[in-house]
Symmetry: C2
Subunit: 338 residues, 2 copies
DNA sequence: TATTGACTCCGAAACGTTTCGGGTTATACT
DNA sequence: AGTATAACCCGAAACGTTTCGGAGTCAATA
């Protein structure tokens, strides 16, 4: 049933070696025999046994993506878009993507080790980098190719794809200030995440650039999603001197914030301005439509693969870095103060 | 650098055979030597080379998920949840998930063939089944294990996981009728999809059960997402005798519909009622919150894996079928007619 | 004529497992 | 004492590729 190289060789009256070389495009086989071999191969429905090939070549032709076993994960539409880009590009290259998540009892580190040792993949895409990321340390120690989504502060010379969240949020502050807002709150994610930290930094820089005072009590650190945005916003609205605008570091938080404000009878875009980050498709369809910073998740996913391939092909010599600029999209969730 | 079975055997002073059998839990190795072997193995940081194992055992210990190269895909939050369930369960089993998407030039069928022949995976999870699904025919012909998300009308005895969309929508109609609605529109997906067809059937049955007339012009078939929901809704609202309630077959369509209605100055939940299907997280946070039918995407993803494992373990003898009931969640996007 | 080199082709080893078919002890039973 | 049995262990083959090193032709060159 299963067609092997040997079967093709027999059928074509050639040796296994020649068939292999013909099929793999080596130039030491005559055009006519190559045609003949190709023909009988497809006639028989031959496809190479990848496990044999991988054993022999010591390459898996696959990338690994180990998804943190935490909150967010898949339910973030942004992540979905990113994943979609990764998969498109990987399929384009003819590679495979191997997605896992640590089970309850598994240590985060040991799963990476297992993957490396068992030769399952030959490169990793790292998500959600944190300061002093142990995964980066581990992979560097084993000299294993990887690329990060989001740069890492400490390990500077690694390959990554990231957006310029700092500049993005600064633009957003500019936008709000130009609308007359001077008291601006911020909904942050856990500050261990580098991405979150960058965006909060943009917030601080933005205020400073406009000579506005920094009030720590207007920065609320929560989790990632709507519920958290809702809760944090309630806290901000209960403030003795509540903000007239709220900058959320992602769209889901912003949507939660809108929902909290509307719960109180506030009209978003008029009584209060709320902004997001990421530009997920839904941001356009909530009411009012959300002013946000759009980043091209799909393209970034593709870029992750491209960078990783480059790292691997150069044997770790090259470590391409990609930074994209968020694009401010003004919609109806922001309006002039008062 | 790379530790093989031989290295462990040498270090432990045992044969390769014994080391292999010890590590794989065979009972013809003495407890004491097993302990010794396990110890030296973990000492050396041994992990089996999966490609060698796979070559020998002829199993990949991996499932394939080939994502259609179309519209929807990842950006649907529902799909993300489903995927998350699949991955969790697969990781739990210690298996791998291999996600791909056909590239531009690839035929849909040939990519399945390639996967089967190259021994990459030993089972498939099929998404978005259609009537007379060629993939099902192909896999059955090759006697290859698979499980479908959504049943298939024609091929009855296959393993699947599905929700009872028909009953779900019928409940929704009950709800709307109890609010006094008699003119109810429907936003459908392309009717080639079995899921979509089921839901529309529920709509028709529901109307009929209440003795309401069926007006084909109130059924708009569009694509999958918000934009489509928006456009279709505009058409419905331009109807000479527009509906007072709109049943969308998924939440994204419903959100698009809300946005279109609000654009016209209508108050959703008062001037018009709009309902969704899926119960994605966001449905709770749009304004007004969406009345919808919730289905447990994550659990269904897990169930897909469980069913597939069962199919494989029984050598295709068993073909477990799972149907879950959607749960009606009434929120503020529906209200009494007039 | 002998030599060279280009062009084709092939045998055999190797990648790291699993597993079949035994083999060697030591103990238990006649 | 001899033999059967259990408990433990191992050699070698096999899975299906890739690739190293060579080997045979044939035409062109010296």
């Amino acid at each position: 049933m299963k067609i092997t190289l040997k079967d093709v060789a027999n059928a074509a009256g050639m040796s296994v070696t020649t068939v292999s070389r013909a099929l793999n495009g080596f130039d030491d086989v005559a055009e006519i025999t190559r045609d003949h071999i190709m023909h009988t191969a497809s006639e028989l429905g031959y496809a190479p046994n990848l496990n044999a090939r991988r054993l022999k070549t010591q390459r898996a032709d696959a990338f690994g993506l180990i998804v943190p076993n935490e909150d967010l994960r898949f339910s973030d539409p942004f992540f979905s878009e990113l994943l979609s880009g990764i998969i498109d590009q990987i399929s384009e290259y003819g590679l495979e993507l191997n997605i896992t998540t640590p089970t309850e009892k598994e240590q985060y580190e040991e799963i990476y080790l297992k993957y490396i040792r068992s030769r399952r993949v030959d490169g990793f895409i790292l998500l959600r980098t944190v300061e002093n990321d142990p995964r980066i340390a581990l992979l560097q120690k084993h000299n294993f190719p990887f690329v990060c989504f989001g740069r890492s502060g400490d390990a500077s010379d690694i390959s990554f794809v990231d957006e310029d969240g700092e500049t993005g949020i600064r633009q957003m502050i500019d936008h709000l200030v130009s609308l007359g807002h001077t008291r601006i709150g911020c909904l942050a994610e856990p500050r261990t995440l580098i991405k979150s930290r960058q965006r909060v930094q943009g917030y601080l820089d933005g205020l400073q650039a406009h000579g506005l005072p920094i009030d720590e009590s207007l920065i609320v650190e929560g989790r990632f999603r709507q519920k958290s945005g809702q809760e944090s916003t309630e806290r901000l609205l209960n403030h003795v001197d509540p903000p007239t605008a709220i900058v959320a570091v992602n769209d889901l938080l912003a949507i939660g914030a809108m929902s909290a404000a509307q719960e109180r009878g506030l009209v978003v875009g008029k009584d209060i301005s709320i902004t997001g980050f990421d530009g997920i498709p839904l941001s356009e369809y909530v009411t009012p439509a959300l002013t946000t910073l759009h980043i091209p998740a799909h393209e970034m996913g593709q870029q992750l693969c491209k960078n990783l391939v480059q790292v691997m092909n150069s044997n770790g010599q090259e470590r391409p870095k990609t930074v994209v600029q968020p694009k401010l999209i003004v919609r109806n969730s922001t309006g002039s103060a008062e």
